[in-house]
Amino acid sequence: MTVLFDLVLCALMLLAALAAIGGRGLFRATVFFVAYGITVALAWVRLGAIDVALAEAAIGAGLTGLLLLGAVARLRRAGAPEFPVRAGLVPALAAAGVAGATGWVALRVPGAGGLWTEAGEALPLSGVENPVTAVLLNFRAWDTLLESIVLLAALLAVWALAREEEWEAPVGPPLHARPGGVLEGMARLLPPVGIVVGVFLVWAGASQPGGAFQGGTVLAAVGLIAALAGLVALPRPDSGSWRTALAAGPAVFLLVGASGLALGGLLLFPPDWAKAMILTVEVFLTLSIAATLALLVLGPPQPRRMP
C-alpha cells in the first residue's frame, strides 16, 4: 500500500520538476518549482528524515521560491524578454547519460552501510540526543561553521551589486504596503506565532527534529513580513547593529571552537560541557542565520524610486 503512495509522490515530483523547467511563463515555472519543493519535502518525510524535510520545505521550497518570485518581478520590471524553452539533443543525451550512469551505479554498487554505528556510539558523548544535530554541531562542527560563513560571503557578494551612490540607501524593494491595511494586519498577527515556532524549532533541535537553520529560516520569514509591511525599518548595509547581528553567530562559533584548544583539541566539545557549548553556539547562530537569510532576500540597497 505505501509503495503506491510513494509511486504517486515520485510521479508528482517528476511532473512538477518538468513543469518548472519546461513551463511556458516564468511565473508559472516558479510556482511549479515551489510545488516541486514541497513534494521533495514530502519525499524526505517518507524517508524518515524529518530534519531534512523541514530544511527542504523552509529553505529549498520557501526561501528559494521567494527569491525566484522576486527575480521574476525584477526581470519583468527591467523589461527582459521571455522566450520559449529550447530543445537540444546533445545536452539531452549528456544529461541522460550522467543521470543514467548515476542511477545505474547507485543501484548496482552495494552500499558500504554508512556511519550508522559510529554515529550511534558517539552520540552519548555529543551532548545532544538528536543524531543529526550531533553531526552538525559536534562531529562535523567545522563544516557547519564554514557554512555559516558561506551565508555571510553570499551576502557580501549581493551587497557588492549595489551602485556606489546607493550604498547609504536602505536595502530591499520599494515598499507599497498601505498603512493599517491587510498586510500590516498580517504583519502584526503572524510574528508572535512565528517567533514561538522558530524558537521552539531551535530548542527542540537538541532532541527532536529541528535546529538552528530550520528555526533561523522561520525567524527570517517573520522578519521579512514585518519589514515588507513597514513595521520594521529596512536596514542599511552600514548599520552597526545589523552587522553585529550578522557577525555574532560565526564569531561565537569561532571563539567556542578556539576555546577547544585549551581543552585539548580544536573545535573540541568535552562531553560534560558539550550541551551548554552547543546551545550557546546555536542561539547566536540562529540570530545570525535569520538576519543573513532575511537580508539575502531583501537584496542590495536599491534607489528609492516610486513604483
Binding site: T102, G111, A112, W142, A251, L254, G265, L266, L268
Partner: protein, 486 residues
C-alpha cells in the same frame, strides 16, 4: 601542540579577521594587516614543525575519521599556505589605497580575508564534503570581488562565473555522494584503503566539477572576463590563488585517494586538456589588446602546465624517481606562478591607477616614469616564460627531464612550446613599456612599486633556492611523490 595552534591561527584567524573587517569599516585594512602578520608567523611555525616532525595532523573535535573531519598540513599544503600569505600580504600593500569608497572597502576586505581563510581550509582538509564547503566559500568570495569591478562587463563576468561555478560544485558533489555510498566514509585516506565499484564514475564526476572550478580548458570560458573585469588587486588574488585550490583537490583525489581508479588513458586525457589550455591560452593572449586580458589568458595557459604531470606521476611511471621529480617540479611551478602572476597583476594595478587604462597603446614608454614596477613586470614575465633564473624554469626543467626519463617526451615538448608562446605574448607589453616616448604620469610612491618587485624577486629566488622548497615538498609527501613504489 604548537603545530595545532599554528593551524588554528591559519584556519580561524582569517575568518575572525573577516568579521572584524566587517565591523571595523574604515579600519578594515588594519584588522587585515594584523591577521596577515599572525598568519605569516603561523606559517613559519608550521614550516619549521613540518621539517622536524613531518606532517601535522589535527582530528577536529577529537573524533577523527570516519565520523569527524581530519586536517593534515603536509609539504604541499604548507607550500601553498606560504604562497597564499605572501600574495595576500602583497595585495594588502597595494590595495590599501585602492578601495576608498565605503562600498568597495566594506566588501573587499572581509571578502579577501574569507578567500584567504577558505584557501587555507581547502589546502589542509582531508574530507571530501569539507572540501566542497571550502570550495563554495572560495567561489562566492571570488564572485563578490569580480562584482566589485567598475567596468561594463563586470556584472556579466560575475554572472557567467557564478553559473559555471554552480554547476561545477554540483557535479563534484554528485561524485562525493557516490563515494560515500561506495566507501561509507569521506576521508581521503580511508577511501584509498577501500575499493568500490562506483570509484570510476565518482572520480570522473568530481574531476569534471573541479575542472570547471579550475578553469581547465575547455571549461575556461568564465576565467578571462572575470579576471580582467575584477579590480586589479582582486585579479591578483583570483589568478594567483583561486584556481590552485581546485588543482590541489584534483591532485589529492587522483594520486592519494583513488590511485587505482585512474587508467593511463584518463591520465593522458588530463595532460591533453592541459596541453590544449597552454596552446589556446597562449594563442588567445597574443590577440588581446588590454594588458589584464593578456594576463588572464596567460593564467589559462599556465594552469595547463600543472596538468601535464598527470601521465608522468600516475600510470606507468608511478613510484619512480622520475614521477617524484615531475610532481615536485609541478608544485614548485604552481608556487612560482602564484608569486609571478600576482606580481604582474599588481603592476597592472599600479599602472591603471597612474594612467587610468591598461591598453597596450597607453602603456607606451612607461618604464621611463615607473622603472621599478616595469622591471618587476619583466622579472615576473621571465618566471612565467620559464627562463632561468626562476621557479618557473626549475619547474619546467624537472618536469621535462622526468618526461624524457619516463619515455613520454611529447609532454616535455608541450612545455617547451608553452614557454615559446609565453615569450610571444609577453613580448608586446614589454616592448610597449620600454618604448621611447615619455608618457605623462602621476607620481606613484616608490614604496608601492617595490611590492610587485618583491614578489617577482621571490619567484626568481624560488629558482635559485629551490632546495628548501623541494625539501618542504618531500617532507610528508605521500609515497608516490617520494619515488617509493606504491
Amino acid at each position: 601542540m604548537t603545530g595545532e595552534v599554528a593551524l588554528a591561527v591559519l584556519l580561524l584567524g582569517p575568518l575572525l579577521a573577516a568579521l572584524g573587517c566587517l565591523l571595523a569599516g574604515r579600519q578594515g585594512s588594519t584588522v587585515a594587516l594584523l591577521a596577515l602578520i599572525a598568519g605569516a608567523a603561523a606559517v613559519v611555525v608550521l614550516w619549521d614543525g613540518m621539517l622536524r616532525t613531518g606532517p601535522i595532523e589535527v582530528r577536529l573535535g577529537g573524533w577523527g575519521a570516519p565520523l569527524g573531519i581530519v586536517l593534515r598540513a603536509d609539504g604541499l599544503a604548507v607550500g601553498f599556505l606560504a604562497a597564499a600569505v605572501v600574495v595576500m600580504g602583497a595585495v594588502w600593500a597595494v590595495a590599501r589605497h585602492d578601495f576608498a569608497t565605503p562600498r568597495a572597502r566594506d566588501v573587499f576586505w572581509p571578502s579577501s580575508m574569507l578567500l584567504w581563510g577558505a584557501l587555507n581550509a581547502i589546502m589542509v582538509s582531508r574530507d571530501l564534503f569539507n572540501l566542497y564547503v571550502g570550495l563554495e566559500l572560495l567561489t562566492l568570495t571570488a564572485v563578490a570581488m569580480v562584482a566589485l569591478g567598475r567596468g561594463p562587463g563586470a556584472i556579466e563576468a560575475a554572472l557567467r562565473y557564478v553559473l559555471y561555478a554552480l554547476m561545477g560544485s554540483l557535479v563534484y558533489l554528485l561524485g562525493v555522494v557516490l563515494v560515500y555510498h561506495g566507501h561509507g566514509t569521506l576521508d581521503l585516506d580511508r577511501i584509498a584503503a577501500g575499493r568500490s565499484g562506483a570509484d570510476a564514475l565518482a572520480l570522473g564526476l568530481m574531476t569534471a566539477g573541479l575542472a570547471i572550478k579550475t578553469a581547465l580548458f575547455p571549461f575556461h570560458a568564465w576565467l578571462p572576463p572575470a579576471h580582467a573585469g575584477a579590480p586589479s588587486p582582486a585579479s591578483a588574488l583570483l589568478s594567483a590563488l583561486v584556481p590552485k585550490a581546485g588543482f590541489v583537490m584534483l591532485v589529492r583525489l587522483w594520486f592519494e585517494a583513488m590511485p587505482d581508479a585512474t587508467p593511463p588513458a584518463a591520465l593522458a586525457v588530463m595532460a591533453a586538456l592541459g596541453a590544449g589550455a597552454i596552446l589556446h591560452g597562449g594563442l588567445m593572449a597574443l590577440r588581446q589588446e588590454r594588458l589584464k586580458q593578456i594576463l588572464a589568458y596567460s593564467t589559462v595557459a599556465q594552469l595547463g602546465y600543472l596538468f601535464v604531470m598527470f601521465p608522468l606521476v600516475g600510470g606507468a611511471g608511478a613510484g619512480t624517481a622520475g614521477a617524484a621529480e615531475a610532481w615536485a617540479g609541478t608544485q614548485i611551478g604552481a608556487f612560482s606562478h602564484a608569486l609571478a602572476k600576482a606580481a604582474v597583476f599588481l603592476c597592472a594595478a599600479l599602472w591603471i591607477r597612474a594612467i587610468g587604462s591598461d591598453r597596450l597603446a597607453d602603456l607606451a614608454g612607461l618604464a621611463r616614469a615607473m622603472p621599478l614596477s616595469c622591471f618587476a613586470f619583466g622579472m615576473a614575465a621571465v618566471s612565467l616564460m620559464g627562463l632561468p633564473p626562476s621557479g618557473g624554469f626549475i619547474a619546467k626543467y624537472l618536469v621535462m627531464r622526468a618526461s624524457f626519463e619516463l619515455g613520454l617526451p611529447g609532454w616535455g615538448l608541450v612545455l617547451a612550446a608553452g614557454g615559446l608562446l609565453a615569450a610571444a605574448y609577453f613580448y608586446r607589453p614589454l616592448a610597449a613599456l620600454f618604448a621611447r616616448e615619455p608618457p605623462r604620469v602621476q607620481r606613484t610612491p616608490r614604496l608601492l612599486e617595490a611590492v610587485p618587485l618583491a614578489l617577482a624577486l621571490a619567484a626568481a629566488a624560488l629558482g635559485v633556492l629551490s632546495q628548501p622548497a623541494y625539501d618542504l615538498l618531500q617532507a610528508g609527501a605521500p609515497a608516490y611523490a617520494r619515488g617509493i613504489g606504491p
